[in-house]
């Protein structure tokens, strides 16, 4: 009797292992940057509803929370790979967290697509890790060109989050380009989770800048902007794609009005049929316009499934290879080309906060920053 039960259980387990394709979704659903996790998750769910199966097998999404922490990100990846036996991973948002996951994916030969980690190190020297977003050398240079040429900014104070690889990288690439153009730069530092920036701002104001460029994520950007305006700063406030969450405006209030940031997407810039359909579906489901992270989540899932289909099997090595052969893929964020290093080559969109919403300001193409 016992043997029979055991056999049934075992068969069930084996069947359940093969009957569904598991994709691990590793995101910050709680903690400091949880808004990002939720946005990517919304995008992935829309993509999953649109394309729920591959080769007739149902795709099962296994969502794991990283609590916006590096160590939890590594734990989640280990759980996804060892316990859940996922075929592939979508995640994380923050570059520092993706850097904690990437070595595990690489070692275990699990293809990983990050929707929004822009630091170059995430994919560097790896076979299995790719992304559907541009990288920081381009984003930082684009902001440098935009600030210097379009805004006429000559003196900038750059705020670096010493805890985030994303911020450190973005700072360096911005400064390289900006000083090359002839601008002057002063650096100040903070740490994720800091709330008081008055010491940094007093140093920044002493430099008398035309603009401050904050390379962190939205909770800190919003608080820095508030405290900068209270200290009487009237120049431009600039940021990277870490600003792209509605919570920026919630927390920043009037202080973030006019804030400019480089990002991946604006619904107004969405031109191809896939992008338009995505905007429609998103509006119907959530009653508001999609943001960059929603669209990137959608694209990460779609690019991954497309690569699985082209690979023709569940062979992970082939899938990882096919991801990097993605060419002219029509995604919600536009046309996606992934190069042999796993990085997407795309244009940068500059958005501005206007009347409490994100408005489209400019597009900067790779050719503009030569």
């Amino acid at each position: 009797m016992r043997k029979a039960v055991l056999t049934v259980l075992l068969t069930l387990m084996v069947v359940s292992l093969f009957s569904a394709v598991k994709i691990g979704v590793i995101l910050p659903m709680t903690g400091g940057i949880s808004a990002f996790g939720r946005m990517v998750w919304e995008g992935i769910q829309i993509a999953h509803e649109e394309k729920p199966s591959v080769f007739g097998e149902n795709v099962e999404l296994v969502l794991l929370d990283t609590r916006s922490e590096k160590t939890e990100a590594a734990n989640a990846a280990a759980r996804a790979i060892d316990k859940e036996k996922v075929l592939a991973i979508i995640g994380e948002v923050a570059s520092a967290h993706s850097l904690a996951i990437a070595p595990l994916a690489e070692e275990n030969k699990v293809p990983m697509v990050t929707p929004a980690s822009t630091n170059p190190l995430v994919t560097q020297g790896r076979q299995f890790v790719s992304r559907v977003c541009f990288i920081d050398p381009f984003q930082g240079a684009a902001m440098a060109v935009f600030a210097y040429k379009n805004l006429g900014v000559k003196r900038v104070v750059v705020f670096t989050d010493v805890e985030q690889d994303y911020s450190v990288g973005l700072t360096n690439f911005f400064i390289n380009k900006f000083t090359e153009l002839g601008g002057q730069v002063k650096r100040v530092y903070f740490k994720s989770g800091d709330q008081d920036f008055s010491a940094q701002l007093s140093v920044a104001m002493a430099f008398n800048p035309d603009a401050i460029y904050i390379t962190g994520y939205y909770p800190e950007i919003a608080l820095i902007a508030r405290q900068a305006r209270q200290l009487g700063f009237t120049g431009y406030i600039l940021a990277g794609d870490g600003a792209d969450a509605p919570e920026l405006i919630e927390i920043g209030g009037e202080a973030v009005e006019g804030l400019l940031f480089t990002t991946h997407y604006h619904p107004k810039a969405a031109s191809n049929p896939v992008a338009q359909k995505f905007v429609e579906t998103y509006r119907k489901k959530y009653g508001k316009d999609p943001a960059a992270l929603n669209a990137l989540g959608y694209d990460a899932y779609m690019v991954l499934l497309d690569a699985i289909e082209r690979a023709g099997s569940f062979d992970t090595e082939k899938i990882a290879e096919e991801i990097r052969k993605t060419r002219n893929f029509e995604g919600a964020t536009g046309i996606i080309n992934i190069d042999e290093n796993g990085n997407a080559i795309k244009s940068v969109v500059v958005n501005v906060v206007k009347n409490g919403t994100f408005d489209f300001e400019a597009v900067i193409n790779p050719s503009d920053i030569q």
């Binding site: 659903m29 709680t30 903690g31 400091g32 949880s34 808004a35 939720r38 670096t160 989050d161 010493v162 805890e163 650096r187 100040v188 530092y189 903070f190 740490k191 989770g193 800091d194 709330q195 008081d196 008055s198 010491a199 940094q200 007093s202 140093v203 002493a206 909770p219 919003a222 608080l223 508030r226 305006r229 209270q230 200290l231 009487g232 919570e247 919630e250 927390i251 209030g253 009037e254």
Partner: protein
């Protein structure tokens, strides 16, 4: 000069906030010899109470603050009854571990009830002039909030001293801090007094949390952790158990943090470390803190 003055006021502002939170730590420690690690999380709950009182019940900011303070006081009382009272006669380490457990419990509870997404405390105020108002003193720009924090800290101190030194329950509190068994033999309801102390400390946490959220309007379930830890250091710095010590420790900690960050820009990203270095130095040099009395442990 303006640079110095600006940072001086920034330091006092931050220090004042630390001091307000530190008072709650020190009071509970003074009476129970318990470091209530859940104090920062009670502060976080207080901020959420104020947030929902203003947004869901659409009360005025002042009324929301009153609701939050009363709510936090009740919460503090309940925490004592549920978590600490059963351990009154247990080794002190058990209560300490329980305090850490309560802290995690409150954080997780907040994630479940209020959600993990940060909320904006700005939504509490329809009229935000009080938040954005800035005074210019000798070229330095000082938020009106700085003076508000100093004023409220002063008022709280006066009320606190009145309660502790001029009322019957205050006398009972002081007696308990000397000797619990003897006090109970004198016919004092020890549990009621301890419950009152927790309620008072938690009310202070809510008051300081609201001030904190007015300055830093990013409300999320883990927001109490760092301020709580810093306030604990401030309380130890000033001499844990002493109310004036908590205020002095808080203000000094804020000033040291701001000035080190302002004058040594290369290390400003590691500000939190300064606080811990201060803690280590104080524990090495003068473990009883600046204003603390040397306690002789009875064997």
């Amino acid at each position: 000069m303006v640079f110095f003055l600006q940072n001086l006021f920034n330091g006092i502002m931050l220090g004042g906030l630390y001091a307000l939170i530190a008072i709650g730590y020190t009071m509970v420690y003074g009476i129970l010899r318990l470091i209530n690690f859940a104090h920062g999380d009670v502060m976080m709950m207080g901020v959420y109470f104020a947030f929902y009182a203003a947004t869901l019940l659409s009360l005025s900011p002042l009324l929301s603050a009153v609701v939050a303070i009363l709510g936090a006081a009740l919460l503090g009382f309940l925490i004592d009854r549920v978590a600490y009272k059963p351990l009154r006669n247990a080794p002190r380490i058990s209560a300490l571990i329980t305090a850490i457990g309560v802290s995690f419990f409150l954080e997780s509870l907040a994630v479940v009830i209020f959600g993990a997404i940060p909320k904006s405390f700005l939504n509490v105020f329809k009229d935000r002039t009080i938040l954005n108002k800035v005074l210019i003193v000798a070229g330095a720009r000082i938020p009106l909030l700085t003076f508000l924090v100093i004023f409220i800290t002063a008022v709280i101190l006066v009320v606190l001293f009145f309660i502790v030194y001029r009322t019957k329950i205050g006398m009972a509190m002081r007696a308990i801090s000397m000797d619990i068994p003897t006090t109970s033999l004198m016919g004092v309801n020890v549990d009621a007094v301890i419950g009152f102390t927790f309620a008072l400390g938690s009310a202070l946490a809510a008051a300081s949390g609201i001030m904190w959220a007015m300055r830093f309007p990013n409300v999320h379930p883990y927001m109490g952790f760092m301020p709580g830890l810093k306030a604990f250091i401030a309380a130890v710095f000033g001499g844990i158990g002493s109310i004036p010590g908590a205020v002095l420790g808080g203000v000094l900690l804020g000033l040291i943090e701001i000035f080190l960050a302002a004058y040594f820009p290369s290390v400003m990203g590691y500000r939190d470390a300064f606080a811990f270095i201060i803690l280590i130095i104080i524990l090495l040099v003068k473990p009883s803190g600046l204003l603390g009395k040397k306690i002789v442990e009875k064997v």
